[in-house]
């Protein structure tokens, strides 16, 4: 049955308006933000959150770095690169503890491990992605034809030798719905595992108003907690924002991403917490890949709130 989305709980008059710029269109990977807004988590922390849905190539880093948006979502690798380029942004909250990025191939090809996808067939990969550089360095590619990733799965369905990058919560579900049998290899298994959907802010805001930033993080955590437990009201909302996602797809996506969000040992802290060690690994990997010129100062990259 169809549930109508809940009315958002209004924030108080004192509530400070803040904006969050997403790097893609509203999908379950942002569910916690919408849930937090709908169930009043942000309002309880005196925030009135405006969520700006994104698209292909939204300049989230630039928007946050220049103050066009107070918060944004990007990948952890992008945070490091942004700092190296002079955009002073700081990571606050990591939605995905395990990177949700993967490579999806047809199960019928009977490929055993990630490495195998680089030796035959066609592979759609977005160029310029950090993990593409990593995989290329780690597994020498031969016999595979690389084409640009176009965001869809049509070519995957029409070509049995076609593989492509994916978000585990998105493309495999779409492909399965059309009757394909995709096998998914997580990029994280290769040793390259940046946090995914990381909420960031600009350092200036963090320094001027740490309380505000902390409120945002706390509210976000509550929102995600809520979404992990009760995804369906938020999914109903997401459906209205993004009608191409039906509710079955939404709940399948929510299920698929849950282990990647809460997989980490809860003793390390609540949802969204990040470890310095992992940032360090990532920073070293990016440096080795020559994606940044200098070694990053890991303590500058994130704050643990």
């Amino acid at each position: 049955g169809k549930k109508s989305p809940p009315e958002p709980i209004e924030a108080g008059a004192r509530a400070r308006p803040v904006t969050l710029a997403l790097d893609w269109v509203p999908e379950p990977e942002f569910g916690g933000f919408y849930a937090g807004r709908a169930d009043g988590a942000y309002a309880r922390h005196d925030l009135r959150l405006e969520i700006q849905g994104g698209g292909a190539g939204v300049p989230v880093l630039q928007m946050v770095a220049t103050g066009r948006a107070d918060f944004g979502t990007v990948g952890a690798d992008e945070v490091i690169i942004a700092q190296a380029r002079g955009a002073d942004v700081v990571a606050l909250y990591a939605v995905f503890q395990t990177s949700p990025q993967g490579i999806m191939v047809h199960a019928a090809r009977k490929l055993q491990k990630l490495e195998d996808v680089f030796h035959s067939g066609t592979l759609a990969l977005e160029t310029g992605l950090a993990y593409a550089a990593f995989l290329k360095k780690k597994y020498s590619w031969d016999g595979v034809k690389i084409v640009p990733y176009d965001g869809g799965v049509a070519r995957f369905l029409s070509d049995a030798s076609f593989g492509q990058q994916c978000y585990v919560s998105s493309e495999p579900i779409a492909a399965r719905k059309k009757g394909a049998q995709p096998a998914v290899f997580l990029i994280a298994d290769s040793g390259f595992n940046p946090y995914g959907t990381v909420a960031i802010t600009r350092r200036a805001l963090l320094e001027q108003n740490p309380a505000l930033v902390e409120s945002f993080v706390l509210a976000t955590r509550e929102g995600w907690q809520d979404y992990l437990e009760h995804p369906s009201p938020t999914n109903a909302l997401l459906h209205t924002l993004n009608p191409s996602l039906d509710e079955a797809t939404l709940s399948a996506a929510a299920d698929a991403q849950r282990p990647l969000i809460s997989s980490e040992d809860p003793t390390r802290g609540g949802l969204g917490r990040m470890q310095k060690a992992r940032w360090q690994v990532l920073a070293d990997q990016l440096f080795d890949l020559k994606l940044i010129d200098r070694r990053a100062v890991v303590d500058d990259l994130f704050v643990a709130l």
């Binding site: 710029a21 700006q52 698209g55 939204v58 928007m63 220049t66 176009d150 029409s158």
Partner: protein, 265 residues
């Protein structure tokens, strides 16, 4: 020579509407037939029946998106018309200005929106304004080029006449150059009308949307990713419909203006 504006003209209007209707029916029939005959997978090309169905089911969402995109496209188109006509006019004043500045106008046309997206979003904010500017960037060049060509096409003998009577610049623009340029300008506007729609959609890809009113661009992106090809086609056809409406508007204005301009004496 005028006939009574009665049955005859009515009949003619009906006839004028016939060809699009006929070809539309043929196209739809062939499309549906081909999809069925070759059993083309629906995720590649859906049959028109499926597209119509989803368009009907999602009519509210699609309608909303259409309006959002229409606003961006229309603002961008209006910007193009005014700025493009003005720039074309300025270029027509002097070969020097033209030579010096034309490359920058051309630059606007060859720059991928994604490359200037950060600047667009930073300067104009996400949403309507950035989308309008994107529509503008994509559609302004044809207006400039055609305005310039039109203004340059003034009959030199008529220019002589105006020179002789010491016409002021505004007079010579309003009473000679503009009327002479109108056919060409109108062609530019026809080209720009379609481009402004695609400009708005591409703008929406990168400028995203403020909440609640996602444009067709977002629908396209997201339907594409979800392989909802029927919805994708419905969105694309809505965009074409929008382009067609703008085009029809321009054509109507053009017909009226050209009618008033008459044939060459």
């Amino acid at each position: 020579m005028k006939e009574p504006a009665s049955w005859r003209t009515l009949w003619q209007h009906a006839l004028a509407a016939l060809p699009p209707v006929v070809t539309f029916s043929i196209v739809i029939a062939v499309w549906e037939g081909a999809v069925r005959a070759f059993s083309v997978p629906a995720f590649l090309v859906p049959p028109p029946s499926a597209v119509l169905l989803v368009a009907w089911r999602e009519r509210v969402a699609l309608g909303g998106s259409l309006i959002t995109t229409a606003r961006g496209a229309c603002f961008g188109f209006l910007l193009s018309v005014t700025v493009g006509a003005f720039v074309g006019f300025v270029f027509s004043l002097s070969r020097w200005l033209e030579r010096g500045l034309y490359p920058y106008a051309l630059f606007l046309q060859t720059v991928p929106i994604v490359a200037v997206a950060p600047l667009l979003v930073l300067w104009f904010g996400a949403g309507l304004r950035a989308v309008s500017v994107s529509a503008f960037i994509v559609s302004v060049f044809p207006v400039i080029a055609n305005t310039l060509a039109g203004l340059r096409s003034v009959d030199p003998r008529l220019s002589d006449l105006f020179r002789l009577y010491g016409a002021s610049l505004p007079d010579s623009v309003l009473k000679l150059r503009l009327p002479s340029a109108i056919p060409s300008v109108m062609t530019g506007l026809k080209v720009a009308s379609g481009l402004s729609v695609i400009g708005a959609i591409v703008g929406e890809f990168v400028a995203g949307f403020s909440e609640g009113n996602a444009g067709l661009g977002i629908t396209v992106l997201s339907a594409y990713r979800q392989l909802r090809t029927d919805l994708l086609f419905a969105a694309v056809l809505s965009a074409s419909l929008l382009g067609l409406s703008l085009f029809a508007l321009v054509s109507a204005v053009s017909a009226v203006l050209l009618g008033r301009l008459r044939a060459r004496g």
